[in-house]
């Protein structure tokens, strides 16, 4: 950069009396960098700013702001001693000496932050303070031995160095690079440490533990992951719409009220969840209550009671542990106990021995045994029992609530009738992909309002659902409170609309834009006339990338803006999981 011919043009800085050479202007620097590296001006400027921020070049005017201004402001190169490249540690002693020198020069008028630093350093470097003062004075005097221009340059250099390494408050320092690690993880240990027997012992232990670790084939683990995701997919509030509506989005707390821990009547989704595994059933307090009821009818409630008592012991306070353990023993494990549980001899032995010195996990073995027993035996019977079937039947059908008028978000029906045709069940759910649903949902309020009449034809397509929902409706006096003034039939019809709408919209949102690529799901060929009719409407409305649809509060504005944005460019959005759901829907 300093080449007289090909480098940055060097100028002289004129102070009042002195002229100092080797000054360069910001614009020259930017131009040179852009030329040299064949990059554009903004990038060159950014690169130049980095150079300034790190202290290789320092500004002569406005010295506190370490950035490159592409105008005639002057800069100068820093001397190698003050470069950060060598990564010499920046000592507080040096800083103290610098501040003392500055104090001398400014006759006691330091800047506020410098004064604070000075006081701090004085306090904790007190033992070295004599040295600092002496050294500062000597350096000051030695500096005066030089000629005037050099003195000025020296002071500028030093000041620039300290602006980089002790930035004034409110400025960003380029030296902030985060935490230092004590050990470099990339450095090979072998080179550093000697190969002592201890080292080898550690290696042996490590490899032994590696061998003992249980290993699972990736095909198995991936299969398990896939199975898990398929099972829980619809219950995940991120991947699927939260029914009746996500309280965080619509300010409607029905979801929470419906899903309280000990609600009288659970929702269908919740009940479905119990069927996934025994653990789910037990974890849900309502499920556990249901199971308890079932066991009571079967006169085998002591297993669950024992399990619960063990949980209480595990999670309870330490003081009551001993008494609890004794109590449990007396109630469940002792011979002739009132609620004696049936565990095998070996486990009983271990437990009784352990109870001599009870601790939190003393009943772990017995608890596991009982858990397995319940899981293998009672759980299956529970799922076939009339208790469960009753609960299932009574479970609340979740529907999307009509939203608060000014927050037009969700409409449409969802039903999770586990006993009804699973195809239909998965369909609306699979259609409820986040992005298309947000698109669809945002537009359906308006479509709702305008397509009252269209509900007719579609409702005939889904007689089962409509009827089922209607029947469910009638059985459900405690309907969600926040259902708005929309009548039931309208809601149902719209609900029937919505799945078809969702179905057609789920593949691509380009439906809205050009009405071109309507790809309805295979299961609903009849839905085609619907989308076309609605597509026109959507063409006007839903011409906005779904990303901005996530926040329904804006939907008002977007409804106004959308006619305008219809003219704008439209993106096709393809959700990565959509192909999966499409297959799910069609399969």
């Amino acid at each position: 950069m300093q080449d007289p011919k090909t480098g940055v043009k060097s100028q002289t800085q004129r102070l009042v009396i002195t002229t100092i050479p080797h000054a360069i202007t910001g614009e020259d620097i930017v131009a040179w960098i852009a030329n040299r590296f064949k990059i554009d001006a903004t990038e060159a400027r950014a690169m130049g700013t980095m150079m300034v921020a790190f202290g290789y070049i320092y500004p002569l005017q406005d010295h506190k702001r370490l950035m490159l201004k592409p105008d005639t402001s002057l800069y100068r190169f820093q001397t190698p001693y003050f470069w950060p490249a060598q990564q010499w540690p920046v000592e507080d002693t040096d800083y103290a000496i610098y501040l003392a020198k500055r104090n001398i020069r400014k006759k006691g008028m330091l800047e506020l932050y410098e004064q604070e630093q000075y006081n701090n350093l004085y306090k904790w470097m007190n033992h070295k303070w004599d040295f600092i003062v002496m050294q500062a004075k000597e350096q000051y005097r030695a500096g005066k031995e030089r000629k005037k221009p050099d003195r000025v340059v020296f002071d500028c250099q030093e000041r620039a160095y300290w602006v980089v390494h002790r930035p004034p408050p409110g400025t960003v320092s380029a030296m902030d690079y985060g935490h230092d690690r004590m050990v470099d993880p990339n450095m090979e240990e072998v080179k550093v440490c000697k190969k002592t027997p201890d080292y080898y012992r550690r290696i042996i232990m490590f490899t032994q533990q590696c061998i003992m670790r249980p290993r699972v084939k990736s095909s198995v683990s991936i299969g398990a992951l896939v199975k898990y995701t398929i099972t829980y997919k619809e219950h995940d509030p991120f991947l699927h719409a939260c029914l009746p509506s996500n309280p965080w989005l619509t300010d409607d707390v029905t979801y929470w009220t419906l899903n309280m821990p000990n609600v009288e009547i659970p929702t269908k989704m919740r009940v479905e969840r119990w069927t996934f595994s025994f653990g789910e059933l037990l974890m849900d307090p309502r499920g556990r209550a249901d199971f308890r009821l079932f066991l009571k009818k079967e006169f085998s409630g002591e297993n669950l009671a024992f399990w619960e008592a063990c949980e209480d012991l595990k999670w309870g306070a330490a003081e009551t542990m001993k008494e609890k353990a004794q109590q449990i023993y007396k109630t469940f494990l002792a011979r002739g106990a009132p609620r004696w549980i049936n565990i095998d001899g070996k486990t009983m032995d271990i437990t009784v021995k352990g109870l001599a010195h009870p601790h939190r996990y003393v009943l772990d073995a017995a608890q596991t045994h009982i858990y397995m027993l319940m899981k293998k035996d009672s759980f299956g019977r529970y799922l076939k029992s009339p208790v469960f079937k009753e609960t299932q039947k009574k479970a609340i059908l979740c529907r999307f609530t009509a939203p608060v008028p000014h927050l037009a978000v969700y409409t449409g029906i969802c039903e999770a009738q586990s006993t009804a045709s699973p195809g239909f069940m998965t369909l609306p759910n699979s259609a409820a992909c986040p992005s298309p649903i947000s698109v669809a949902i945002d537009s359906t309020p308006a479509s709702e309002r305008r397509f009252d009449g269209n509900g007719g034809p579609s409702s005939s397509h889904f007689p089962s659902i409509a009827e089922a929902s209607v029947s469910e409706e009638e059985n459900q006096p405690p309907a969600p409170k926040s259902r708005m003034a929309l009548s039931l039939s309208r809601l149902l019809r719209r609900g029937c609309n919505a799945p078809s709408v969702f179905a057609s919209l789920s593949p691509k949102c380009a439906v809205a834009s050009g009405g071109g690529k309507v790809q309805p799901l295979g299961v609903e060929p009849l839905a085609q006339p619907q989308p076309r009719r609605i597509a026109n409407f959507f063409q006007i409305k839903v011409d906005i990338p779904p990303e901005c649809r996530i926040y329904p509060i804006d939907s008002e504005d977007e409804e106004d803006d959308s006619p305008d944005t219809a003219r704008g460019g439209v993106k096709e959005i393809i959700c990565p999981w959509e192909t999966v759901t499409k297959q799910e829907g069609t399969g």
Partner: protein
Amino acid sequence: KPECCCLSASTGNMDGEEFTMLDALNKVTACYRHLVIALGSTSDSQNLREELKKTRNKAQELAVANRTKLTALLKDKNISKDDRAEYERLWVLFTSSVELLEVDMKRSLEIGQDFPLKVPTRHLIQTGMTGSTTTVAARAMSVQNMKYEADANIDTVDLKELETEIAQVDQMMEEMEMKVQVAPWAVEAKQEAGAELKSTVSVGNSSVGVISICEEEPKETVEGETGLMKVFAGIIFTGVLLIAGILGYLVVNL
């Protein structure tokens, strides 16, 4: 040197001799730092390398001398508590100086290696410093003028010596740590905050007109410099007035 005396007087140190030696070491260290900062810049030259070498050697001599003196003093078990505190303070001064010196030596080695002088085209950084550092070195060596007698390839030869010297200083410091048990943090400073402002007043004859740092503080130089100019202008003006008066008087009288 007059400055030394007034310094020791202001600090009220009783052991003037030790202090003078320490003060000398301190001075040399400060000058050495100035010289090292100039390394690699456009004021770098063979002379600078030689100055560095000489200053360094002098610093080392002083360091060794100080060390022997101070260790002797501190090993003496029959000193009073106050004396001991004082010697410890001097010890901390000494170790800090030597630490600074060592750091600067290491840095000068690195920069010296990066910026060789015996190459067809020297790549020195244009820092704006163009003057020589002779005066600083002269101050360090306590001589009036520096004499330069080294060979032309001092930069490479010197570096090797520098490495060995750094090792020596390292070793010396380790020995010092081992032999003398002084807790540096227990020392209390005699100077209070802002003490540096005091004694510079007496020294500051040449600091009339504070140095202006770049264009942000032009006022101070302006004041300083134009103060003098104003005085001159005033003198000249009054002189002219006088002459005019005299001429007028003569004209009138003629």
